[in-house]
Symmetry: C2
Subunit: 441 residues, 2 copies
């Protein structure tokens, strides 16, 4: 796809496109600009892109972090016109056309793409984060994994039945796809570990609670799919609490409505908000902190700045905001990258973005998932097979590492949990374990 | 291997064997006692056994921690007579026959097996540990990996050639097998990353120094193998400094002899000492803190207490101390487990332990290794193939996970470095990066 020499602009100065954020959106945009006439600089505070749809499997010890991470430099290393910078962006000087990094460095741009995604929203209770990590980064997934495994280890050691039961209780907050997936996976992991690995734990002490402040789980899905998911979860033993928001989260308990629940591990999946990119740009954010964009994904009044993915508030043809999904970010990134390429190489105007819905899915448990394609829906075993095929395909595509995917299928089928690591750097863990004296265990 | 009912002891009381440490020695001992007449309790502060011979590959991003870790509960879950406790031992009450845990718990034993291994010896400079982690745990391997990768990222960003060169300098301290393997692997990783992934780094700025206070590297190997390894390393570009001990280690430099070397990453592999088990037992330790044991591996004067692996000072027929190798620990564990089993089931006396040398090896680089079998030696490509075959076999055996091993071979062959994760929890990193102002990068 080298540009036709005749179409090359007369000016020999190359335009610089700076992309902030190396997630699905930023990487798709960078790839579409690979080997183009532009100098591309991608800035991220981490050196890897994360396949977040499977992050819950890292948290539940089915996968290793590296299995679902791809070094950004490896993904983009083949394009000589793209440079990658590891750095934290602290602001944008839009008038001067430069991005500011924490190190003090300024990176000048001709075109700027903001693709910094979203983070968990604790609705003003940021101290809850300590006891209820969300599921956005490798670090958090590893933290949840350690807390879960440590709670079971402590339960095994405890001689106190009340404490034992508390440690085997996991509370998942938020009934969206992440919460549903975590609740199902934690229950499966707990049952598996109690049956195979522990001696003093009983299956009837295993408790997984899914807390949703709204009237139903899977709010973004049609009713009958949400009902199916709720029935399935209740059937395997997950308790679902609807309509009561969380009042308090502490090291060893949560308060829901007026009930205090003792717990060994709390997981947060209750809501997201956009990263503070609106502040960098000095614009008034829309709902969820997202930045309203024009149909071509540019910032109104700033045609050289674009916002894509979770931090953009783009709308579909019906005027509805597009959801914060990987597929939206990916399509926007690819669209924008191609559009910028044509603009820089041929002077073409930027076309509007149109979202093509590839289906919204949530996996509820082994052999159970829901799929919503808008006009039609699927649920149950067949939906799970489709989910698995789609995700293996996405993962293979993501990593270009077929063996990792094979390994994942293998572990999934054999129910092995190879990644059950408790690290010595772990703690900062709810310390419910009372010091107990026993002559033997 | 259920015991013959006739041979069962008349007493219905089962003996309790407590094993402290779930490394190669402790696990081999526990396995040999699996489904025996004894109640076995294995205590470890971590929940996994680590295949340490490949830990340097985690540090250099070729493997994930979970690839070389095996949950202890999974290994021992099949034996109903074995319980696993996650806990930190703080002492032994030998007169009462109980092990003391940090949590305050006491665990009574009839027979006690100490298999707590060794740790790095900073020769009184424990503050060096902050800047020069050793390579004993997953946490340390991950720390080294992060520091290495971050140093390169910072070098890429730096506009200062002196700083760039400092960040691309890695200092490995200690010329034993670990130091040799790390030096070779770090050089390979650095060359690979500079060639493929970075834009502003030059191969000639890559520096890896191997520092050994003694007169030669690979002290435990015959001269001609050590010479071969030194030549090989020098050929690929590793600088070897002999005869000068390290004087100082700081966040961004080390002092060797009288020379100050600026560096982005320091790795410690200079010496080990036994864990403080001698203190628990109130015995006078031998060289390296190891506990002298009788030929049957018991503690002299305490026939119910045994010490195996790196923390035992056992001797061969010639009266020479056995080396601190995985194969010694494994053989001792299996020997002791079987001996205890026969003693408990049939009243047989404990036979003396005899070490069978399976060969001592160190890998120097891609396609280069040394092997010492005592009577004969191997080096070069053939030795490397043998090393690879042996380690794949050991790893398959260790994990029972053939796909992980396949994946490892695959990554090794394709030189992929999939595990290049810099985690947000990382830092605590040498902060050499001066704040630099540039109008663009």
């Amino acid at each position: 796809m080298k540009p036709d020499p005749i179409a090359e602009p007369a000016l020999s100065l190359r335009a610089t496109v700076v992309i902030v954020g190396g997630g699905f959106g930023g990487l798709a945009c960078a790839r579409a600009l690979g080997n183009s006439d532009a100098d591309v600089i991608l800035i991220d505070k981490r050196n890897h892109n994360l396949f977040q749809p499977l992050l819950y499997q890292v948290a539940t010890a089915a996968l290793s972090p590296a299995d679902i991470s791809e070094p950004i430099r490896r993904t983009l290393g083949r394009y000589p016109n793209i440079r990658v910078l590891l750095g934290e962006v602290t602001g944008v000087d839009a008038d001067a056309g430069a991005v500011l990094l924490e190190s003090g460095m300024r990176v000048s741009y001709d075109h700027l793409v903001i693709a910094t995604g979203s983070e968990y929203n604790y609705f003003g209770n940021d101290d809850w984060r300590t006891w209820a990590p969300g599921l956005k980064t490798v670090h958090e997934a590893r933290l949840i994994r350690q807390r879960l495994l440590l709670a079971y280890e402590r339960a095994e050691l405890s001689g106190n039945p009340v404490e034992k039961r508390a440690l085997l209780t996991t509370v998942v907050i938020g009934g969206g796809p992440t919460g549903v997936e975590m609740a199902g996976a934690v229950h499966e992991l707990g049952r598996y570990m109690i049956e195979r690995d522990f001696r003093s734990l009983r299956a009837e002490d295993l408790r997984v609670l899914l807390i949703e402040a709204g009237p139903r789980i899977l709010n973004g899905f049609p009713d009958h799919l949400a009902d199916y998911a709720a029935d399935y979860l209740r059937n395997i033993g997950v308790e679902i609490r609807l309509g009561d928001p969380v009042q308090k989260i502490a090291s060893d308990h949560v308060v829901v409505g007026s009930e205090r629940i003792e717990t060994g591990c709390v997981i947060w999946g209750a809501g997201v908000k956009a990263t503070p990119a609106a502040r960098w740009l000095g614009v008034e954010p829309g709902p969820g902190g997202r930045i309203p964009v024009a149909p071509d994904l540019s910032l109104p009044g700033r045609p050289e700045i674009f916002v894509i993915g979770d931090c953009a508030l783009a709308k579909d043809d019906a005027g509805e905001p597009l959801p914060g999904l990987a597929q939206v970010a990916k399509q926007q990134g690819r669209h924008l990258g191609r559009a910028l390429r044509r603009k820089l190489e041929q002077g073409t105007a930027l076309p509007p973005f149109r979202f093509h819905n590839r289906g919204n899915t949530a996996v509820v448990g082994r052999n159970a998932a829901v799929f919503d394609f808008g006009r039609w829906q699927m649920k149950g075993r067949l939906a799970w097979y489709l989910w698995a095929i789609v995700h293996v395909w996405l993962l293979v595509n993501f990593e270009k590492r077929i063996l990792v995917s094979l390994q994942w299928i293998w572990r999934y089928v054999t129910r092995q949990r190879g990644a059950r690591l408790i690290d010595e750097s772990a703690p900062e863990v709810p310390a419910t374990t009372a010091r107990s004296e026993t002559s033997n265990v």
